[in-house]
């Protein structure tokens, strides 16, 4: 068990190190989320109140994560490193978990910028909304890592990722928006927890089959 976690930690560290060096994905995500929020300001009519803004926050977060997820497996594809990882005696699911944790770190960094900007531009965020963001981020990265690996195995990869990710992201958006604007946020937070549990376990178990023959 500790060997497994050691593998996961080594893999996640590797991704963080790579991003720190290349510095291409994270700045792009930060800039993208800010630009999207500004676009939304112009997209919203003047007198709609706060609720629609929360919806758009979630759209911004989902599409920003897509940006990050599209690049998630690029280092592994460059010189065939993914084959190297798959050949290693470590559990293949550790590859998924390491990647998910790293993606989560990047998404969190983007959110640290996006959320204050949102509060500044649009409307306040309470504890429930923040809890929603946390739970939703876990779900996005868990499913996203797996789905991104699927897309990476295909010919049309950049185009394909949003197509296979968005239907799976719909429940996340529901949970997130609900935790922000509903009068019973606990229901939605519980739902997000359920989504995370179901899809994280599924992704964890299925990853092996996506990267092997």
């Amino acid at each position: 068990m500790s060997a497994y976690l050691g593998d996961v930690a080594a893999l996640a560290r590797k991704d963080l190190r790579l991003e720190l060096r290349a510095r291409d994905t994270l700045p792009a995500m930060l800039l993208f989320v800010l630009a999207t929020l500004v676009v939304f300001h112009f997209a919203l009519p003047a007198d709609v109140g706060d609720d629609p803004a929360y919806g758009l926050l979630w759209v911004a977060l989902v599409f920003t994560s897509l940006l990050g997820l599209a690049r998630a497996w690029v280092p592994e594809r460059e010189a065939g490193a993914l084959d190297g990882l798959v050949l290693a005696p470590s559990d293949r699911s550790a590859i998924w978990l390491g990647k998910t944790i790293a993606s989560l770190a990047f998404l969190a960094a983007a959110e640290v910028v996006a959320l204050p900007a949102f509060v500044l531009f649009f409307a306040p965020l309470d504890a429930n909304a923040l809890a929603g963001v946390v739970l939703a981020s876990v779900g996005i990265c868990a499913v996203g890592s797996l789905v991104s690996a699927m897309a990476a195995a295909s010919r049309g990869r950049e185009v394909l990722l949003p197509l296979i990710f968005l239907p799976l992201a719909i429940p996340i958006v529901v949970g997130g928006v609900g935790s922000s604007i509903s009068e019973e946020p606990a229901k939605f937070l519980a739902f997000l927890g359920l989504y995370d549990a179901v899809f994280a376990i599924l992704s964890w178990a299925a990853f092996e089959y996506v990267v092997t023959e």
Partner: protein
């Protein structure tokens, strides 16, 4: 170790016969609905089609599971055909649902029908299945990725349904409501016959498509073997 399957012709004839009986029952046996009148009859077609779509997706997921756990050769095509049939019936669900909405309430679409919205999400998801599948080289990789995707679909069904239920909280529901089937005996009988007919029809279509795909695959293999 497969049992001898009943002949396809026999099943097709049976399906046609059942369909004829169902039509008769729908129009002559089941009473007309007080509120919606004739348009309510679509219910006898719409709901079985929806149920059949679910069954197809469930079948596809089961075959996918078998593929991943046993490495049997046949499961890939069976799973794929299941998804294909499910998508066809899913599209039909959306169409019949839309017709029913227009006939009952005057709009071609409404977000207040949880079932309809769920099918829209599933339709998007399973359409992406085909895009994913056909952008990967044929081979074990494609089979496995398709199988994993089909399994995710089946997990998505209850989760999405829950999400849509919760979402109706703040996506303000319109005044349209659909009365649940408090069905009389005759209505229930008509419904069951219709359901049986449509399920059988789906099964026949599944077998036909599967046979076609298998023949295709065998033909390609033969060509390969015979090629110089």
């Amino acid at each position: 170790m497969s049992m001898r399957k009943p002949s396809l012709t026999l099943l097709a004839s049976l399906a046609t016969a059942l369909a004829a009986v169902a039509v008769a029952m729908i129009f002559f046996v089941a009473p007309e609905d007080a509120d919606q009148g004739l348009s309510q009859k679509i219910f006898y077609v719409h709901v079985p089609i929806a149920l059949t779509a679910y069954a197809c997706f469930g079948l596809a997921a089961w075959k996918a599971f078998r593929l991943l756990t046993t490495r049997g050769d046949r499961y890939d095509l069976e799973s794929y055909t299941g998804v294909h049939q499910g998508t066809i019936f899913g599209a039909l669900t959306l169409v019949t649902g839309s017709i029913w909405a227009k006939a009952s309430w005057g709009v071609w679409w409404t977000w207040s029908s949880n079932q309809l919205v769920l099918f829209l999400v599933l339709f998007l998801f399973y359409c992406a299945y085909f895009m994913l599948r056909y952008s990967i080289e044929p081979g074990p990789r494609r089979e496995r990725i398709s199988a994993v995707y089909a399994l995710f679909g089946v997990a998505l069904v209850p989760v999405s349904f829950l999400a849509i239920r919760l979402a109706s909280d703040f996506i303000h529901p319109t005044v349209f409501t659909r009365d649940g089937p408090q069905m009389t005996g005759e209505m229930f009988a008509a419904f069951c016959v219709s359901w049986a007919a449509i399920t059988l029809l789906a099964y026949v279509m599944y077998r036909v498509e599967l046979a076609g795909k298998r023949t295709d695959a065998n033909l390609r293999e033969l060509r390969e073997v015979l090629a110089p």
